[in-house]
């Protein structure tokens, strides 16, 4: 750098600038945290930054950040900062790099280990690459964010943002500026990897087993502009449970949900009616609730001693000197359920004595009111402040107690988003209709139409959310919970003529199919010869045996015939790709892929109906992760009739292919089928893609994961590929055996039923 006079002069100037920007104290600190050699490396780095014309104020921040990082995590971390800053500046510009220096202080405060800090830097580099406009914005919130997430969660959260918003910078900005609801949601989800939906079934079964309590459960979702729900709530048999309990992970989170549900179960089993609020002060209400919690828990523990272990995990209060109302109440909560807890605070000792002296009257909820009221008075006389506005029931597994009191004008415990309620309702409906036929029994007078049309009137272009599914993130190596939303849309029926035309044009193929079906349909029992056991003698075998005996040889002992019934036992879910690309014409013909696929599906349906295999047909496409569309042509319980043909003929190609989500939904609908084999048959013209995903491998890997998890459930997946240029990706998704490529798409209509028969017999 320093050859020639000119260069030397520049060096001097730069030196002067550095010296002038960085104050003496920081210089001194730098020399303390770095060895001489490291200091040399650091100044080289500084020179590189200066050469990039980074602002002087940023230089001071850089120097201070280096000192902080080196102090907290060692000199290597201090030196690493510069390389990351350059990477960030390359991608996101100078302002972003400067913001990152300023935010380093937050990182140093919240991240414990050197590797966490390194992971944070790496995540910032990835953020600069994936969402350059958002780096500076996120740096403003970094303290808040890192307070809630550790380095791993931070990484996951940042990725969720980049992926979720796709290629829309404005959406990414909203997310990282924490203005987007999904940012806060993802936040809660990243800070707890177990969502309530994952635990709901077993928690419900637990209280069902213990108390025959079968509540309706609703998830308390995060709503924008409101604080995240932190406590459960109940109102009779309806429970609201937070979608995630922040900071609870893995098995701990699962136990925490169980503790919460068991607690509400105890209220339901041992509680009385609602208490009147009367003239009670807020502190008295809180204390009456606390005593009532302890009362029902103690009754529950008397019946089920193991519950004490479950609940005590979350009672971590310790005796102390502080006399804040919340702390005292936390200690009291523990004192009333933990017999081994020692606390000599006079108020707690008195409360304990009062509570346990009335042991014989525990079945009477009135004692909660008496004891709670008295204890509240005591606290008042002790002049201990209580702030009802900031008070949150502790420990965290307990509910917010709103269900214990007569309702006044407060808003209900949860005003979930309308879509959530709808989704929950849909889930409940799904559960209740375990047996497929009940769907139709609900309205016997209605003609057998598809489910979506029965749920009408739905506006034509508005879907009805039917499920959420996770999505596999291969870069992360984990499932993103509830990532995609499946919406069911009305399949618009084509005119009747178009429906019947689907089959008419293929009379010859139809005849062939019907013959084939007839031969494949083996419903009569067959005799099987040469069996060890059976209903009648196998004459041929007997003669052979007689000859063997005459010859003195050893006879074959198998001389029976037995009857076997060869039944087909297979249900099929046909998933028809109706993305935009299916509107392409095939070769030089004037037929589109989707028109061939429609005809082929109609012929296939004819074959399946002939064989008596239960089957469903759905078209699918997607418009981003929140709108994976399902167009239901035929349900399992319907017969394949003219109206189904019309709906099939009415399918139009549009939007993209989010294959994984569609596969998961197909699997979910197929799994209650009680057949020996279950098959998802995909008819698709290419690899998965969607507008909000840039990485082409991402959806392919997700679909592959979906196929594998279906295989785990014993559901086979077979894909018929049409005119695919890159079938490597499809083979990767479905495996070599699960993928059949039809090179001449126009031949699909004739071929499909035969392929189907070959693969399923």
């Amino acid at each position: 750098m320093s050859d020639g006079k000119h260069g030397h002069l520049q060096d001097l100037l730069a030196e002067a600038n550095r010296a002038s920007v960085i104050d003496a104290a920081t210089w001194a600190a730098l020399k303390r945290v770095f060895s001489q050699r490291e200091f040399g490396q650091w100044t080289d780095g500084l020179a590189r930054l200066l050469a990039r014309k980074i602002g002087y104020s940023a230089i001071l921040d850089f120097a201070r950040a280096s000192v902080q990082a080196a102090r907290r995590y060692g000199p290597a971390a201090g030196l690493r900062l510069e390389a990351s800053a350059r990477a960030v500046q390359d991608k996101a510009g100078e302002r972003a790099a400067a913001a990152m220096f300023a935010a380093t202080a937050h990182a140093c405060r919240h991240l414990a280990e050197a590797e966490d800090f390194a992971a944070w830097l790496a995540t910032m580099e990835e953020l600069a690459e994936g969402a350059p406009e958002s780096v500076a914005v996120l740096c403003d919130h970094l303290g808040y964010v890192l307070q809630r997430l550790d380095a791993r969660e931070f990484h996951s959260w940042v990725h969720a943002g980049i992926r979720g918003a796709g290629r829309d910078p404005a959406a990414r900005l909203e997310y990282f500026d924490l203005k987007d609801q999904s940012a806060i949601r993802a936040f809660e989800q990243a800070s707890s990897d177990v969502l309530f939906s994952a635990v709901q079934a077993r928690a419900a079964a637990l209280v069902g087993a213990l108390w025959r309590f079968h509540p309706i459960m609703r998830t308390l979702a995060v709503t924008p502009g409101r604080p995240a729900p932190r406590r459960s709530a109940f109102d009779g048999a309806v429970l609201w449970v937070p979608e995630a309990y922040a900071g609870r992970h893995g098995s701990d989170a699962v136990l925490h949900y169980k503790a919460a549900i068991a607690h509400i179960g105890a209220h339901a089993a041992y509680g009385g009616g609602r208490f009147p609020r009367g003239k009670l002060k807020p502190i008295q209400i809180a204390l009456v609730s606390l005593i009532e919690d302890a009362r029902v828990e103690n009754l529950a523990i008397a019946d089920y001693p193991g519950l004490r272990r479950l609940w005590l995990r979350y009672h971590t209060a310790q005796p102390g000197k502080a006399l804040a109302a919340e702390l005292l109440m936390l200690r009291l909560s523990r004192a009333l359920v933990d017999p081994d807890y020692l606390d000599d605070d006079p108020w707690i000792t008195k409360a304990r004595a009062m509570f346990f002296d009335s042991r014989d009257n525990w079945t009477d909820p009135e004692i909660s009111r008496t004891i709670g009221g008295l204890l509240g008075n005591d606290l008042g006389q002790m002049r201990i402040q209580f702030n009802a506005k900031t008070y949150v029931v502790e420990p965290s597994y307990r509910d917010d107690n709103s269900g214990l009191w007569e309702i006044d004008d407060e808003p209900p415990p949860a005003e979930s988003e309308a879509a959530d309620v709808m989704l929950n309702a849909a889930q409940i409906e799904q559960k209740e209709s375990d047996e497929p036929k009940s769907r139709h029994e609900t309205s016997p007078e209605a003609p057998p139409a598809n489910v979506a049309s029965r749920a009408s009137p739905l506006p034509e272009d508005e879907g009805f959310p039917i499920a959420r599914h996770p999505e596999w993130d291969y870069r992360h190596g984990g499932l993103r919970p509830e990532w995609t939303t499946l919406n069911e849309y009305n399949a618009r029926p084509a005119p009747a003529a178009a429906g019947s035309a689907l089959l008419q044009r293929h009379e010859a193929a139809l005849v062939k199919i019907r013959n084939l079906v007839k031969s494949a349909k083996i419903s009569r029992p067959q005799w099987r010869s040469r069996q060890m056991q059976g209903e009648r003698l196998d004459l041929d075998a007997c003669i052979r045996t007689a000859i063997d005996i005459e010859r003195g040889g050893s006879p074959d002992p198998r001389h029976y015939q037995t009857r076997v019934l060869k039944n087909r036992d297979l249900s099929v879910f046909v998933l028809l790709d109706i993305s935009e690309s299916t509107r392409d014409r095939i070769g030089r013909t004037n037929r589109t892929i989707i028109s061939v696929a429609r005809t082929a599906t109609a012929l296939l349906a004819e074959a399946m109906a002939g064989l008596g295999d239960p089957f469903a047909i759905c078209g699918f496409c997607s418009d981003g992760k929140d709108d994976v569309r399902f167009y239901r042509v035929k349900d399992f319980v319907e017969s394949f009739d003219a109206s189904a043909l019309q709906r099939l003929a009415g399918l139009r190609g549009h939007l993209s292919t989010r294959l994984g989500a569609a596969l998961r939904q197909a699997g979910a609908e197929l799994s209650p089928q009680r057949t020996h084999r279950r098959l998802v048959l995909v008819i698709s013209d290419g690899e998965p893609s969607d507008i909000d995903v840039a990485d082409s491998d991402y959806l392919t890997e997700d679909a592959r994961h979906a196929v594998r998890s279906l295989a785990h459930q014993g559901i086979d997946v077979l894909c018929i590929g049409l005119q695919s240029e890159d079938d490597a990706a499809m083979r990767r998704v479905f495996g070599r055996r699960g993928f059949v490529l039809i090179d001449r798409a126009e031949a699909l209509a004739e071929k499909l039923p035969f392929i189907y028969l070959r693969m399923t017999t």
């Binding site: 079934a201 077993r202 928690a203 419900a204 079964a205 637990l206 069902g208 087993a209 213990l210 108390w211 025959r212 079968h214 169980k258 068991a262 089920y304 001693p305 193991g306 519950l307 272990r309 479950l310 059976g534 209903e535 009648r536 003698l537 007997c542 045996t545 005996i549 001389h559 037995t562």
Partner: protein, 265 residues
């Protein structure tokens, strides 16, 4: 033919829960066919063993299954060195020599198989052996008993109406807590305290019937858990092995059951 080894030598443990013993004796007096209804593991088989002992009759038990054919019941020709030989099936044995024939879980057999019992269950009391061209008249001591678990709600697994209406039926269910505890104590040889705990656990699982479980834990399962505990297995692990794992494969239900067992202990 000697049916000695079908006789029950020692008195089986059976705790009468209702009027089933005198009722069965009355039915036997006129050799009426009897149907025992009730969930699995509630003591149907034990009851018929006890009654056979009490009445001093040999007991021939046939466990019915889907692949069972009529020949499995009535008999078939077999080959030996001299040619074909007829072998009586278990039902024919009982009919000829006067035993109580017990068709366990009769709905498991295909409906066309069970029709062969029809001529035995009305006043004809005969068993035609078509292949042998023989009509076997029932021994005066012969009685037919079937067991039937109405828990199978499947349409295909039900008795034909024409079969059902030939029987008198005794309804069995799980005993009440006190009696069940006594049964567990006696059968598993555990203390009253452990038996009470097992009864409580059993009741929890029965609460889930229809809410994820097809059937709650049977008395038999509780006895098995008790026996494991008697051999020094911890209560939790014994219940896991004897109740939770056999009863369901659904991870959520397993978890809920384990957790409710934890809660009881």
């Amino acid at each position: 033919m000697d049916l000695t080894h079908y006789r029950i030598a020692e008195e089986p443990f059976y705790k009468p829960l209702h009027n089933e013993v005198p009722m069965f004796e009355a039915a036997y007096a006129s050799r009426m066919p009897v149907m025992l209804k009730g969930p699995t593991g509630c003591g149907k088989t034990r009851f018929i063993e006890y009654m056979a002992w009490r009445l001093g009759r040999p007991l021939i038990t046939i466990a019915c299954h889907e692949d069972m054919t009529a020949s499995d019941l009535v008999g078939r020709y077999l080959l030996d060195a001299d040619g074909t030989v007829w072998h009586d099936g278990p039902l024919t044995l009982a009919v000829r020599y006067g035993a109580i024939c017990y068709l366990d879980e009769v709905v498991e057999a295909r409906q066309d198989t069970t029709v062969v019992i029809h001529p035995l269950t009305d006043e004809r009391r005969t068993l035609p052996l078509e292949k042998r061209n023989e009509l076997v008249a029932a021994h005066p001591d012969f009685q037919l008993v079937i067991s039937y678990n109405p828990g199978y709600q499947s349409v295909i697994k039900d008795l034909k109406e024409s079969t059902k209406q030939r029987f008198i039926a005794l309804d069995f269910s799980y005993p009440n807590a006190v009696e069940e505890s006594q049964i567990i104590q006696s059968e598993a040889g555990v203390s009253g305290e452990i038996a009470d705990l097992l009864v409580k656990i059993g009741a929890r699982s029965r609460n889930l019937k229809g809410h994820g479980l097809d059937e709650g834990a049977s008395t038999r399962m509780l006895i098995q858990a008790g026996r494991l505990i008697g051999h020094d297995m911890p209560v939790n692990e014994a219940c896991q092995a004897a109740l939770v794992v056999p009863i369901t494969d659904d991870p959520d239900m397993r978890d809920a059951l384990s957790e409710s067992i934890n809660a009881c202990v």
